[in-house]
C-alpha cells in the first residue's frame, strides 16, 4: 500500500489527520505548502491526496491541475464552505470535499470511501478469520456469512477501525448509538456479548477494566 499525502499549511491539522489515519494503519506523509507538496508528488507515488485549498506557494486549485494527470484521487479539506467552492473543487477533479471542522470518524469514512471507489484501498476489513465487505455490508466468518443487526454491524466497524486500541465505553457508545442517546452501558455490554458470540470472538474483544473494550489482533 502506498502512503497518503496530507497537504495543509496548518501543522496542527496535518498532524491531526496523520494521527487519525495512522491509527487505521495508513501511512502518511505531510507537506505544509504547495511547492513542497508538488515536490513530493513528483518523487513518490500516493494512493490519495488530502488537500487544503488555501496554501502558501501554490494553492489547492493549482495543485489539483498538477495531480489530475497522475490519476491519484484527491479529497479537498477546507474551511471554505460556500457551495461555489465545493462545486469548484469537485469539478476540478477532487473525489470528495471535507469541510473543517471535521470529526476524525468522518474523515476516516470519507477516506475509506474514496479509496474503495478508486479501487486502491481495503475493500474488505479483516480481523482474524472475520471479513467485512463495507460496500455490501456483508460479514463473513471463515467464509460463512454471519447475520448482524445494524447496531452490531456499526459496533463491529468501530472496533475494526480502532484495532488494538482500548476504546472508552462512553466513546464507543456514542459512536454507535449517537451523541444524543441515553447512556446505558448495559446495552453496550449486551451488544459486545452478542458480537463475541456471533463471531466467536470471546478472546479477541477484550474487556479493559475501568476503560472499555479492545479488539486485539496479533499480527
Amino acid at each position: 500500500m502506498k502512503p497518503i499525502l496530507i497537504v495543509d499549511d496548518e501543522v496542527a491539522i496535518a498532524q491531526l489527520i496523520a494521527m487519525t489515519l495512522a491509527r487505521m494503519g495508513y501511512s502518511c506523509q505531510m507537506a505544509f505548502d504547495g511547492l513542497r507538496a508538488a515536490e513530493l508528488l513528483e518523487q513518490n507515488e500516493y494512493d490519495l491526496v488530502l488537500l487544503d485549498i488555501m496554501l502558501p506557494g501554490a494553492d489547492g486549485y493549482e495543485l489539483i491541475d498538477f495531480i489530475r494527470p497522475t490519476g491519484i484521487p484527491v479529497i479537498f479539506i477546507s474551511a471554505k464552505t460556500t457551495v461555489a467552492d465545493r462545486v469548484k473543487g469537485l469539478h476540478l477533479g477532487a473525489c470528495d470535499y471535507i469541510v473543517k471542522p471535521f470529526a476524525p470518524e468522518e474523515l476516516l469514512a470519507r477516506v475509506e470511501n474514496v479509496l474503495r471507489l478508486s479501487g486502491r484501498g481495503q475493500a474488505l476489513l479483516k480481523a482474524g478469520d472475520v471479513t467485512v465487505d463495507v460496500a455490501t455490508r456483508q460479514v463473513k466468518k471463515a467464509g460463512q456469512e454471519v447475520a448482524l443487526t445494524p447496531t452490531e454491524y456499526q459496533l463491529l466497524l468501530v472496533l475494526l477501525h480502532n484495532k488494538n486500541i482500548a476504546l472508552y465505553r462512553d466513546t464507543l457508545y456514542e459512536r454507535v448509538w449517537g451523541r444524543d442517546a441515553e447512556l446505558d452501558t448495559r446495552t453496550l455490554d449486551i451488544h459486545i456479548h452478542r458480537l463475541r458470540k456471533k463471531l466467536g470472538w470471546q478472546h479477541m474483544i477484550r474487556t479493559i477494566p475501568r476503560i472499555g473494550y479492545r479488539l486485539e489482533e496479533t499480527p
Binding site: A12, L16, P104, I165, G212
Partner: protein
C-alpha cells in the same frame, strides 16, 4: 389615461368649444346683419310701393273716378314696375283681395294677419320652402281705404345661413382634425423626455442605475430629467457604497469564520482522539500541546476582535495633547523583546492631539509588523517630524516588503500577506485593521509605501497639540 391623449383631448375639447362658440357667434351676427339688411331694404321697397300705389291711385282720382277696375289695373302696372321676382304684393279693400301677385303658398289668413298687425309691423312668414317678410300699409284715396300687402322673399338669408353653417361645420371639423394631429405630434415631441425619464426610472427600479436621460431642453421636463439624472447618480453612489459595505461585511464574516475553523478543527480533532481511547504518551503530549496552542490563538483572536469591535462602535475619541516621545516610550516599554531593534528619533517637545493608549497600541502594532518583516539591518526606525500637514510619524523597516497587489488589502481584517508565516509568528491578521481604525479615529489615514525586498514605510499624520 396617458398624458399625450389627455393633452390632445383637452386641446381638442377647448378648441372645439371655442370654434363652436366663435362659429355660432359668427353665424348669428352674420345672419342678423343680413336679416336687418333685408328688412331695411324690404321696408324701403314696401314704402316705395305704397307711395307708388297712393300716387298712382291719386292720379286716377283726379280724373274724378276710382273704379275697382282702375285699382286692379294700377296694381298690374305697379307689378310690372316693381317687378315680381321676390315675392309679390296684393291690394285689399275690406279684407277682400282686389289684386294679388302674392305667391300661392302664402295663405290668405296670413295676409289678413299682416293687415291686422298694422302699418308699423313686420311679419315673417313661412310658405312652403320659402320665407317671406309681410308688410301692410293703408292707402287712402278718395275716402276709400285700401291695403297694400307686400311679401318679400327672404329665403336667401336663411339659406345663406344654412350654407354658412355647413361650410363652417366642415371647416371646424378640418380645423379640429388638423389641430388634433398637430397637437398629438407636438405633445409627443414635448413628452419625449418624459418617456425617456419613465424608461430610465423603470431601469432604476429594476436596479440599473447607469441609464441617463440626458435631455437638452430647458423647460420643466428638461429640469426634471436633469435632477432625475442627478438623483440616480446619487442613488447609484449610495447603492455602490452599501453594496461595498455589505461585501466587506460578508468578507469579514467569511474571513472570521475561516479563522475560527482552523483552531476549532485542531481542538475538536485532538480532543476527540484523546477521549476515544488510549494513546501513546508522546502523541498524547503533542495532542494536548496543540489543543492548548490553538485555544490560545482563539483567545487572542477574540481579544483583538473585541478591540476592533469596540473601536468600530466608537464614533469619536476625546483627543488631548500628548507628548509624542512619551507615547513612543510606552510602546518601547510594552515590547521588551523588540526593544533592541528600535531606533527612535523624536523631538521630545513634539506634542500631538491623540488618545495616548490607542496611539501607543497603533505604534506597537506597526513596530511588531516591521519586526516580523525580518529587516536586514535588524532595525525598526521610528521618526517623527513637523511638516505643513501637522506632525508626521513614520515607522520604517528594511524587511521583505509587501507585494504591490496586497497593499490595498492589508488593512482589511484577517488579511494576511503570507498566511503561514503570519501564523507561525502568531499573527492574527487583525493588527493593521486595528491600526487603520485607530488612525481614522485620530482623523488620519495610514500611508503605506513598500517595495519587495527593500522594506516598508508607514506614515501617519497627526494634529499638533499644545500642552
Amino acid at each position: 389615461m396617458k398624458l399625450a391623449p389627455k393633452l390632445v383631448l383637452t386641446i381638442l375639447l377647448l378648441l372645439g368649444i371655442l370654434l363652436a362658440a366663435g362659429g355660432g357667434w359668427l353665424l348669428k351676427t352674420d345672419f342678423e346683419r343680413n336679416f336687418d339688411q333685408a328688412r331695411t331694404r324690404n321696408i324701403l321697397a314696401h314704402r316705395r310701393d305704397t307711395y307708388s300705389l297712393q300716387n298712382g291711385l291719386l292720379v286716377k282720382v283726379s280724373d274724378g273716378m276710382l273704379s275697382r277696375q282702375a285699382v286692379v289695373d294700377y296694381g298690374e302696372s305697379l307689378g310690372r314696375y316693381v317687378g315680381q321676382e321676390e315675392g309679390g304684393f296684393a291690394v285689399y279693400q275690406n279684407e277682400e283681395s282686389l289684386y294679388s301677385s302674392l305667391p300661392g303658398a302664402l295663405e290668405e289668413q296670413e295676409v289678413l294677419r299682416a293687415i291686422e298687425a298694422g302699418e308699423e309691423a313686420l311679419l315673417l312668414q313661412k310658405a312652403g320652402e320659402s320665407s317671406y317678410m309681410l308688410m301692410a300699409s293703408g292707402v287712402q284715396v278718395a275716402g276709400e281705404e285700401y291695403w297694400l300687402v307686400s311679401a318679400y322673399d327672404v329665403t336667401g338669408v336663411f339659406r345663406a345661413r344654412e350654407d354658412k353653417f355647413q361650410e363652417l361645420f366642415r371647416l371646424e371639423l378640418a380645423a379640429l382634425a388638423l389641430a388634433g394631429t398637430a397637437a398629438a405630434l407636438a405633445v409627443n415631441w414635448m413628452i419625449r423626455p418624459l418617456k425617456k425619464l419613465e424608461k430610465a426610472s423603470r431601469a432604476v427600479a429594476a436596479g440599473d442605475y447607469t441609464l441617463s436621460t440626458a435631455t437638452k431642453s430647458r423647460d420643466e421636463v428638461g429640469a426634471l430629467s436633469r435632477s432625475f439624472d442627478a438623483m440616480t447618480a446619487t442613488v447609484r453612489d449610495k447603492v455602490d457604497q452599501m453594496e461595498d459595505t455589505i461585501q466587506r461585511q460578508k468578507q469579514f464574516v467569511a474571513a472570521f469564520t475561516h479563522e475560527l475553523k482552523t483552531p476549532m478543527t485542531s481542538i475538536l480533532g485532538y480532543s476527540d482522539l484523546l477521549r476515544s481511547g488510549e494513546m501513546d504518551p508522546e502523541d498524547q503530549r503533542q495532542a494536548v500541546q496543540y489543543i492548548h496552542r490553538e485555544a490560545l490563538r482563539l483567545e487572542m483572536l477574540s481579544g483583538k476582535l473585541m478591540q476592533l469591535m469596540g473601536l468600530v462602535e466608537q464614533e469619536e475619541l476625546t483627543l488631548e495633547p500628548v507628548r509624542l516621545a512619551l507615547v513612543l516610550r510606552d510602546t518601547a516599554a510594552s515590547l521588551p523583546e523588540l526593544a533592541p531593534m528600535l531606533e527612535i528619533r523624536c523631538d521630545p517637545a513634539l506634542t500631538v492631539l491623540a488618545d495616548r493608549d490607542l496611539l501607543a497600541d497603533l505604534v506597537r502594532n506597526l513596530v511588531v509588523n516591521a519586526a516580523r518583516a525580518q529587516p536586514k539591518d535588524d532595525r525598526v526606525h521610528i521618526t517623527a517630524g513637523r511638516t505643513e500637514n501637522g506632525i508626521v510619524l513614520r515607522v520604517a523597516d528594511r524587511g521583505r516588503g509587501i507585494p504591490e497587489a496586497d497593499l490595498p488589502h492589508i488593512t482589511e481584517p484577517f488579511y494576511m500577506v503570507d498566511k503561514s508565516r503570519a501564523r507561525a509568528q502568531n499573527g492574527s491578521g487583525m493588527g493593521l485593521a486595528l491600526c487603520a481604525r485607530i488612525a481614522r479615529l485620530h482623523g488620519s489615514e495610514l500611508h503605506f509605501t513598500s517595495k519587495l525586498g527593500q522594506g516598508t514605510v508607514v506614515e501617519l499624520n497627526l494634529q499638533e497639540g499644545t500642552v
